[in-house]
Every structure is written in C-alpha cells, then in structure tokens.
C-alpha cells in the first residue's frame, strides 16, 4: 500500500523513520537541560534556583476515531493549549527567524505557526509528550541565553542578535558539545515551524503547489520539467 506521500515518503514510513531517529539520536532525547543552571549559561558562581521541571500532561482523550472530517478546526478545538504569553512571544520570535517574510510569502509568525506548535506540544498522544518536553525546555533555554548574552528576552532581540544565538545551534554536527541539546531543540523547532508554515495557503503557494484543483485530464510533466530532469535535451 501507499497512501499520501509526504515528500516522497509514505506516511506509514515517515512515522516509522521519525521514531527510529528519535530512538537512535541521543540529542533528540528529552533532557532537563535548562534545569541545570551551569548548562543554561549562568555562572556557577551565582547559582540560581533550578527551574521547575516541565509538567507532564494530564491524560485526556484525543479527537477519537470518528471525528467529523468535513469541518475546519483550529488549535485549541480538541485540547487546551499550553504556552504562556511569554512562551508564545519567544516561540513567535523564533518562528520569524526560521521562516521570515520575503518577497514570496509572509513569516511563519504571521500565519499562526506558533499556535500550531502549541497545539502540537499540547496534544495528548505519546509522541507529542516527548516533543513537549524538548520544546518547552528549549524555549526556556533560548530565552535564558538571550538574557545572558544580550540582557533581554529572546523576543526583544534584534535580528542579528537572534541569529547570533541560532547560528550556534542551527545544525547538530556543527554545535559545540555544550550546545548539543539546544541544537536538538532547534532542529525540532525548525521542523515544526516548517510543518506549520508549508501547510498554510501562503506556504503551499510559496512552494508552487498547484494541486487540489479539479482537472479535466492528467497531462503529465511539461517540457520544462522533462528538460530539468534531463529526460529531453
């Protein structure tokens, strides 16, 4: 079988791969990183009270096996959201750094992606519980890092200040030992930002998606596509 294919990967396998990746890549494991002040960047000489642990979600139902599929839903319709106003501001700032506005489309922060990420980490399904810990811990870390380096909350940094932090954590193989877990957070946050953004009308248009519109015939690839693939000269 093959149902819909995300990026050429059937859903079934994509989920499988994600799970395998999470199980084998140590930096994808949840950690209490920000709860450890020395690793949060504060000087060991001025110990701070350990941050409270991320609360696990109370167990509750999801949307069940027979929801009405013809309706439009928004974050918060099936389960309550998590972000505090501060967390939301931090998340929005990071979304805007990862997917900023350009001549093709608006920024991820402008089209509701922070709400989607909130919905994602608040969902009562097992995988989401672990994403929740990583994201909430990471948001806390990045805000603390902003305060440490620039004495302001992350959401109030200039673009170049924000990028200075992100440059250190934007790719796990490039990150220092100390930043490994933050880089794991960033990878997950970027994934979720992209997931939220490219599924909006603005994001789909940006990618040049032209399906979902009835056609009289299936015409196959245009010449330009065949040429691009080297199938015709």
């Amino acid at each position: 079988m093959n149902t819909t294919k995300p990026g050429g990967i059937s859903r079934r396998d994509a989920v499988k791969w994600m799970l395998t990746a999470a199980a084998t890549v140590p930096w994808l494991q949840p950690s209490a990183l920000a709860a450890d002040p020395s690793r949060a960047g504060t000087s060991p000489a001025e110990p701070q009270p350990a941050a409270p642990p991320i609360e696990p979600l109370p167990s509750r139902d999801g949307y069940g096996t027979d929801p009405d599929l013809t309706k439009t839903y928004g974050p918060g319709d099936f389960w309550p959201l998590t972000f505090t106003p501060e967390q939301r501001r931090t998340a929005a700032a990071l979304c805007a750094l990862i997917i900023p506005a350009d001549e093709h489309s608006p920024s991820a922060a402008e089209v509701g992606v922070p709400d989607f990420i909130d919905e994602w980490i608040s969902a009562p399904y097992p995988e989401h519980g672990y994403n929740r810990v990583t994201i909430l811990t990471g948001l806390r870390w990045i805000d603390a890092e902003a305060r440490r380096r620039f004495s302001r909350p992350f959401a109030d940094l200039s673009e170049s200040q924000g990028r200075a932090i992100c440059d250190d954590i934007c790719w796990v193989p490039k990150a220092t030992e100390q930043n490994l877990e933050a880089a794991g957070f960033f990878a997950m946050f970027r994934n979720l930002t992209a997931a939220g953004f490219y599924t909006t009308p603005e994001g789909m248009k940006d990618l040049g998606y032209v399906g979902n519109t009835p056609q009289a015939s299936f015409d196959g690839p245009p010449e330009a596509a065949l040429r691009k693939a080297g199938l015709i000269a």
């Binding site: 149902t3 599929l69 839903y73 997931a195 979902n212 691009k228």
Partner: protein
C-alpha cells in the same frame, strides 16, 4: 441507502453476508443482482462517502496539520472510521513478546470496511501464483488455476474500473481488450526512474489501480457482466452513470465523493441496494454462526453495538466476509458439542497459515528532481510500478530466496504536509531564515521512495487462535496472533533494500537513512502491510483445507467464506482484486446451488 434496524429485519433471508468490505460488497452485489434476498451485517457504523469525504480540505484545516495519530494512523482526513491499529474495547493479543514475532492488525469499523481508504492497487495474480508448490516445492498449491479465476478478474475489473496497461510480461497477466481503462501518464520522477533503472534490468510499467481514468462504458459493460439479466443491466448502467472520472486533484485514501475510485460503498453497495434485494444492518457485530438441529447453519448471533444486547437472525445460507482474521474469529467462536474446536474446523486448519506481505522501503533524494517548475502531480496515487522481473535468475538458483516482489513508487509534489520540509538539514547544513525558504522550494518534490511488496510463504508458526483469557468489551474471546518470518522472507527483504538503494543511486540520488543487510531489520512487522490473508484455506481435500474451491466449508454445506481467508498463498500482488474475483466466483456457485435446491 436502505439501512434497516433490528426492528425492521425480515424474519428470514436467503443469505446473510457478514462484512461489507471488498469481499462482502462483491458477494452481496453478485447475489442480489441475481435476485437472492440478502441481509448484510456490518460491525461498523453506516458511512456515506458522498457526504462525508473531505475531498479538498487542506491540511491546515485539520488538527496537527492532518498528521497521523494513534486515533487516525493514516492522517486526520483518511477515511478510516472507528478503527486503526488498536480499537478501544476490542483488543487482540500476541503470543510472543519477541520483537520479530509481532503481528499488528489494522481494522476499520464502518460500512465498506477498509475499501474506503485502501491504496487501490489492483494487480492480478499470475498463473505461477496459483501453483507455487508445484514450481518450487514450498507452501501450497491452490485447488484452482489462473484460468479458473481469469474470467472473474475480467468481470471485477470491468465492474469496479481499473486503469493499467497490457505489457505481456511473465506471470503478470494481460486483461482482454476493452477491460482496462487507459493508464494515466507518468510523473516526472516516475519517468526518470524508468529511464535510469532500466540499466539495472528493472522494468517500469503502468500500475493497475482501481480508479476511473475515464468514465465507464455504461452502454457496453452491463451487458457483458449480466447477460440475460436486463434488470441487472439497467441498475448497473445507472450506477455507472453516477460515477465521475477522476479529476486528478485529491488523495484517494480519503475516499472519493465523486465515486471515481473503488470503494464498496460507492461501487458495490449502491447497485446492490437498488435491486431492492439487500438489507444492511450496521453496528451489528456477529459473534457466532448458529446451528440448527440438522447440523446446518441457521443464521447468526450478533451484538447490537449501541445497546450491547445480543440478537439472532436467520437465513438459508451464511457467508463470512468479515476480512480474513475476523472470519476466522467468528468460526473459532462458533463452538458447539458437534464442533468443540470451532465451526468448520474438523481439519484443525481454521486460523492456520495466515500470511501478510513482505514489506520494506528505501527513500532517496534526487538532485535531478529539485526545483521543478510547478505543475500538477496530484491524482490517483502511483501511476507506475515494477513487476517482479527476476524469474529466470530465481529459477536458476542465483537468488537466495524463492519468491518475488514488486516495487511501488512514491514520487511527486503532493499537497504539502508535516513532512514536506522536515529534516532538511541533512542537505542544507542547518539553514534557517531566507535561505531555508529557498531550500524548501528547491527540495520540495525531490524525494522518491521505493517500497517492496513481496510474497510470504505460509508457515506453521504464523497463525491465530482464540486467546484463552482475553475477551472484548462484549465478552467475546479475541484473537491471539502467533507470528514468525522464515529465512525466505528475511532474505527477500534484504534484497529489496539493496535493489532500492541501487535504484536511487542509478537516478543520481542519495539514500536517506540506513540500507539494511540484515533482513530482520529490513522487514516491516507482520500485519503492517495490511494484506493479511489465509486462515480458512480452500483445497481439494477436506482433511487439508477448510473449504472447497468455491469457499463452501466442507463441514457445513450452507456456510461459505468469501474473503482473503481462502488464500492458499499470498503472491506479491496486493490481494484485494483476487479477493473480489474469488468472492464473485464463490457467489456464482452459491447461486447455482441455491437454484438446484442443494442448500
């Protein structure tokens, strides 16, 4: 639809059909078109694809952008209702805790069963596939041959509408002229694969899928399917005129409101209901087949899922078509002094030799497919596939496994979803900001995945029985699965991995993730491919089979099985087209026996 309630049931029917999916739908269609009075019992709820299918809903309209969850494993908008890998209150168990010995079971609880969301790949078994034991001494031969089933493949293809082409390849049967609908053009990624993998000897040809690439010929087909039955012809012609051609825009797994692909609920049930001969009772979970004092089946006992009460209904003939393992469960739960081990189980073979398909995938990123000019690639699933091609090498002993696999392709620019720009850092070195947006545009649609679907040989260690302790929420004993792959399947899965990696390389691409040499790591768990068949196999000898070659149980003359439980082997070809062809064939025999007064 003419859905009845327990209160409006007739006193008795000619035939009770349990289940409404591919097998139940085809059985009810064939019987009612020829005038038999049929009651269909379906455990799930009523379901109307015309009204309920979210055809154009973009992913942002769904919770979590439509991404699958345990509640909806194939995504929010997927057509599965009331089902999934687990159903609350309706468990199944595993006899072993070992990781390689698990069987996972996908069910749906809805009118039409899993035909509402299946992938619609509809391949015929070939001549070899009915006589595998005779070819290599493994597994079992069927009591029937390709020639026995071929006329029914023709009929089913004409009825449901299957696109594809005739290529004249070994053990990959052609259909007669005028049976298949034209295959759609290939996508650019599919064409690139075809060009590049030719040098590996892998053929790439149009897939056969149950999708109307054009409208059906409602003037000609009904007369071919129902000669001498003008009423049936008229009803079918009406139904065919109510089906539109595919408009190349939406994912078939959500179902199709314009009835352009095959689902039992859009193709089998509407004409069957139009005959006036079909009553459908939904939310009716059959527990057991009941026996009269004469040793014949006299009906079934079922649980009304709303009230939890048990009721009975009677018929001259009972047909089990609840899907292979569900039909087995009903037989095993139908215990009586004369059948202490379950009904129709004097051979001891009920539940034995269940099979799934060998599944393994490798994905890759293909630079030649980057930054393609925008054009529509939606519609009707995969357009091409690779049939098994190494028959000669296998026969000459050059491969270390005995049976074949086919390859399904996944390539194209589908509606963006969670994974569209997921984990791109492998290629981008961790870009973010404006560069990330450029990268997302560049890589969108540049991925391909090859997925193997291979033949599993039935074995002694793969079967299901009743769990001695666990019951579902109505107190009905549940199935316990025993599972073990043999070296044949494990080696085949490892071969798939090498082949797919070579295919990706031949396209100038890079493989995503590991290429497994160890079959145990390469193979998907049992049941995962959702092609479970066997458990009540047909045969020529009552001691070595559960039914004769018409699905009639040896032990109880008026009890039939018409679903995948009948399978003696599970060819690499996806099973559903064969399930329907056999269901039609069994139903023709059942009608004949009814007419003769033998039932």
């Amino acid at each position: 639809m003419a859905i009845v309630t327990a209160e409006t049931l007739r006193d008795s029917y000619d035939v009770i059909v349990v289940g409404s999916g591919a097998a139940g739908g085809q059985t009810a269609y064939t019987l009612t078109m020829e005038g038999a009075k049929v009651l269909m019992l379906e455990a799930g709820r009523n379901y109307d694809p015309v009204r309920e299918t979210p055809m154009f809903q973009e992913n942002f309209r769904a919770p979590l952008r439509g991404t699958g969850t345990p509640d909806k494993p194939f995504g929010f908008h997927d057509a599965t209702v009331g089902g999934g890998w687990k159903i609350a209150g309706e468990p199944y168990t595993s006899a072993s805790a070992e990781s390689g010995r698990q069987f996972t079971w996908y069910r749906a609880r809805m009118l039409g069963g899993r035909t509402n969301h299946w992938a619609r790949n509809a391949l015929r078994n070939g001549p070899y596939d009915f006589k595998p034991y005779s070819r290599d001494g493994l597994g079992f031969d069927w009591p029937i041959s390709y020639e026995d089933v071929a006329p029914y493949y023709d009929k089913v293809e004409m009825l449901i509408g299957v696109y594809g082409s005739n290529e004249g390849l070994e053990n990959t049967p052609d259909s007669p002229d005028g049976v298949l609908l034209p295959a759609p053009k290939a996508r650019v990624g599919e064409l690139l694969a075809k060009q590049r993998v030719a040098r590996l000897g892998v053929p790439v040809i149009p897939l056969h899928r149950a999708v109307l690439s054009q409208r059906q010929d409602f003037q000609r087909i009904p007369a071919r399917l129902h000669p001498n039955n003008p009423r049936a012809q008229r009803i079918l012609a009406d139904s065919m005129q109510g089906r539109a051609a595919c408009f190349w825009a939406t994912p078939c797994g959500r179902g199709c409101a314009i009835r352009a692909n095959y689902q039992s609920t859009t193709v089998h049930l509407p004409p069957a209901l139009a005959t006036g001969n079909l009553d459908i009772l939904t939310d009716a979970l059959v527990r057991e087949v009941t026996l009269g004092s004469d040793g014949r089946a006299d009906g079934v006992a079922y649980v009304d899922r709303h009230s939890g009460t048990e009721r009975r209904v009677r018929a001259r003939v009972v047909v089990l078509a609840a899907s292979a393992c569900e039909s087995v469960r009903i037989l095993l739960n139908s215990r009586s002094p004369s059948f202490p081990n379950g009904l129709a189980n004097s051979s001891g073979l009920v539940g034995r030799y269940i099979m799934d398909t060998v599944g393994s995938s490798v994905g890759g990123q293909i630079p030649l497919l980057e930054a393609m000019p925008p054009h529509n690639e939606e519609g009707a699933g995969d357009h091409v596939y690779s049939p098994w091609w190494l028959y000669r090498e296998q026969k000459a002993g050059k491969l270390n496994f005995p049976r074949g696999y086919h390859i399904e392709f996944a390539s194209g620019k589908y509606m963006p979803n969670q994974y569209t720009a997921w984990a791109l850092e492998r290629y981008t070195g961790g870009s973010y900001g404006r560069r990330f947006k450029e990268d997302a545009r560049r890589y969108y649609g540049s991925f391909i995945q090859f997925t193997g679907r291979g033949e599993m040989i039935p074995n002694e260690n793969s079967f299901c029985d009743l769990d001695p302790a666990v019951k579902d929420k109505w107190g009905i004993p549940v199935l316990r699965f025993h599972w073990q792959w043999s070296e044949h399947e494990l080696r085949q899965a490892a071969h798939m991995q090498q082949t797919f990696a070579a295919m990706i390389q031949s396209m100038g691409g890079s493989v995503i993730g590991a290429v497994h040499e160890d079959g145990r790591r390469a193979i998907a768990p049992g049941g995962y491919i959702i092609h479970e068949v066997g458990g009540a196999r047909m045969g020529g000898d009552p001691k070595r089979s559960v039914t004769n070659s018409w699905g009639q149980t040896w032990d109880v003359k008026n009890l039939f099985v018409t679903d995948g439980a009948l399978f003696c082997s599970n060819a690499d070809k996806n099973p559903t087209l064969t399930i329907m062809a056999l269901a039609w064939r069994c139903s023709d025999y059942l009608l004949e026996e009814l007419r003769k007064g033998n039932l």
